[in-house]
Symmetry: D3
Amino acid sequence: MTSSISPLTHFDAQGQAHMVDVAAKPATHRIAVAGGRIQMLPETLALIESGSAKKGDVLGIARIAGIQAAKKTSELIPLCHPLPLTRVAIDFEAASAHVAGAIGIFCSATVETVGPTGVEMEALTAVQVALLTIYDMCKAVDRGMTITDVRVLEKHGGKSGSFVAR
Amino acid sequence: MTSSISPLTHFDAQGQAHMVDVAAKPATHRIAVAGGRIQMLPETLALIESGSAKKGDVLGIARIAGIQAAKKTSELIPLCHPLPLTRVAIDFEAASAHVAGAIGIFCSATVETVGPTGVEMEALTAVQVALLTIYDMCKAVDRGMTITDVRVLEKHGGKSGSFVAR
Amino acid sequence: MTSSISPLTHFDAQGQAHMVDVAAKPATHRIAVAGGRIQMLPETLALIESGSAKKGDVLGIARIAGIQAAKKTSELIPLCHPLPLTRVAIDFEAASAHVAGAIGIFCSATVETVGPTGVEMEALTAVQVALLTIYDMCKAVDRGMTITDVRVLEKHGGKSGSFVAR
Amino acid sequence: MTSSISPLTHFDAQGQAHMVDVAAKPATHRIAVAGGRIQMLPETLALIESGSAKKGDVLGIARIAGIQAAKKTSELIPLCHPLPLTRVAIDFEAASAHVAGAIGIFCSATVETVGPTGVEMEALTAVQVALLTIYDMCKAVDRGMTITDVRVLEKHGGKSGSFVAR
Amino acid sequence: MTSSISPLTHFDAQGQAHMVDVAAKPATHRIAVAGGRIQMLPETLALIESGSAKKGDVLGIARIAGIQAAKKTSELIPLCHPLPLTRVAIDFEAASAHVAGAIGIFCSATVETVGPTGVEMEALTAVQVALLTIYDMCKAVDRGMTITDVRVLEKHGGKSGSFVAR
Amino acid sequence: MTSSISPLTHFDAQGQAHMVDVAAKPATHRIAVAGGRIQMLPETLALIESGSAKKGDVLGIARIAGIQAAKKTSELIPLCHPLPLTRVAIDFEAASAHVAGAIGIFCSATVETVGPTGVEMEALTAVQVALLTIYDMCKAVDRGMTITDVRVLEKHGGKSGSFVAR
């Protein structure tokens, strides 16, 4: 007879959600990098790029929104542990540097802590909110923008070892 | 000589960000629908689908997280106006119902208000946080999940008229 | 054949939770009063009562905590609508004024709004957090305090009419 | 002449509230369990129990609300220290298993941390908000529900030693 | 015999704090402007001014922090009513434009709503947090910066009429 | 050729804002004291002073608001690290005790932590919000109050050594 224990660690043996016990896990240095992009019309991208230089710094504002969102992750994701983040950094590049022909902005977020659990949720949340903020600031000219390919790129530290996306 | 006014309404004539004046806009009934999906391994999808029935209700928890996130939108997106939401509903379907061959969960969020501005940011935020919550709950078995194709599907009410994504 | 619609309005016909649609409900003046008490040792009550007069104003602090909690209700209770509260008032009395022989503090909260839904959750939340704050401030001398009999006392306004607890 | 120092540690020698100094206290493993129940009509209990199985998972949603509330305790209770919780778990049972003849739901919350102060406030807050969420979801059919007997059941770790309620 | 009613409206006839009743007050268009400045070393001001142009946009970040803080006012100030702000704008100038010989940055915030109470607290909060953010970003080079002269400059709308600071 | 690295540590070599890496900094005991005052009419000061004694405890409420604000600092100031504060205390005195002839209230806040970065932002935020709360509670009788001279008074712990304002 097979075990009834869920492989999803956020559920106990009765299938009830809980915030899992990490008291016995040592505090180690953790780092996670997530990335994703927002696709847009060429004219919208041109506006953002000119804006960064002179008027209307879309990316500067999106960066701040992403950093602040990383700090709110445990409020947003029900079973996340609160963690004292030691670093959050967010980068933007032209999406074409990542996917040939893509038009838009690629965002990556790097988050670090010294703690008992990883910070990939914080990195993903930072990317999502940074990209949402770009959507918000440009939606007056381009409602069809799409946020896509948001995922963990790298994760280091902790018992389960390093992960690097293919 | 061309005007120097940015077409991005979140910036004033000097290129400074502001929360735009909506005091003169009438409060009308607004509705927005956003959608997106998370792609995963077939085994992960099977776990979620069995869990919904008996143990470990991943989608039930993601739905609550998405509804709560919609209410936090103006805290997360710097230039969003706070709005008294009158409805938030979140649906999940197999992603294959939307994109042939896709493996994973498709999420849509419908948000309504009676107010001076639209609620597409609230709908997008609900979708993003619901999908992030699925990632969080399943990451122990599948770190390579990707959140993708998050966009506004429909938007009604307000001066700029209806928008329906192609 | 029996209907499959849940009498619990927070669930739709498929049994999925949602924040129910109140867009069509008129904004009317709503008022709700909730009450509850915390039971304690006679010495603890004596400390609070002397403190109010001279040093260590337990009830003054609990009142502020309760007022602030009323404003956070829609963050705490997943399916509550955000509402622009127009009044919050909190009163404390000796519990013995309400239940013969009871030793402790009785707290009541009155909350008002002009809106499409009632404010009984806001009143209950204010009472709970005010009583929890009393617990926090006195726990160094009395760990056995119990919060009890928290309920809606009155509710007026809205389609469903007035409710007064027996 | 007797000392004028309040036995309530949240006040200093002048009777002014403060968040007490815990810098010198060692970080030890702390655990607290709190419990309480909501009393209701037999029909309401029947609805919840059927709902858990098939449509309208009241307890699943209340559990998530309670876990999230535990993380918000230091925002709600003015003089609480922020603590990095390492575990939150919430259980529900029929109230009759705890008090003969009681009709309703009994909720208990277990919270753990490795830190300089205890987590009984977090456990109490989780119970209160979980029970309030049950009230919210069932109030359309039963306005007279009462939340009662909320208290600390057990507390371990720290200088003051273990506490177990009689 | 003199009346015992406090002229401070946030207290009732018993001297207890409450969030005052505004349900009967009409929703009118309100506007408030607050201002204040941060004084610093000439070298610090030079750094900020060069940064705005090319690297390290201190004022752009402070502006976003101020706008977001305006939306959090009712969370920060215990007896403030939550209000649906319709506009927030923040401006920075050289302090010397306001006070002869002053070295530093002058910040003003303009906040609007259509509601039953004024928004001067929101404008003051925006100024305070914008100036605090400047302090945070420059403190590595200048710990002696001072925030000063924060006050309401103008206020219009509502029964009590217009106010313009001398 | 001059270096292009900003002396403002919140910006990286490209001039982009980030939450700086503190993972390698040891957790040490940190303490910061900030102060500031609110200037008002003599009648307003008289009201506050009488109120503290008997009805309408303005300073008691401002103290709680300041303590709670200290805990929210990393939400308000975009690039602040979240820190587990171990102590927050707030004091009020007549402003004349600090500046000859000043009429109003002087507020100081002392904040401590055991962590990798200092807590001067938390102390400044506590002072600002405590003074704003005094403004809020007295604005019905004195709209011209001014918050002034808010600055760090002392700071100890950490690599950069002690700072004491002249």
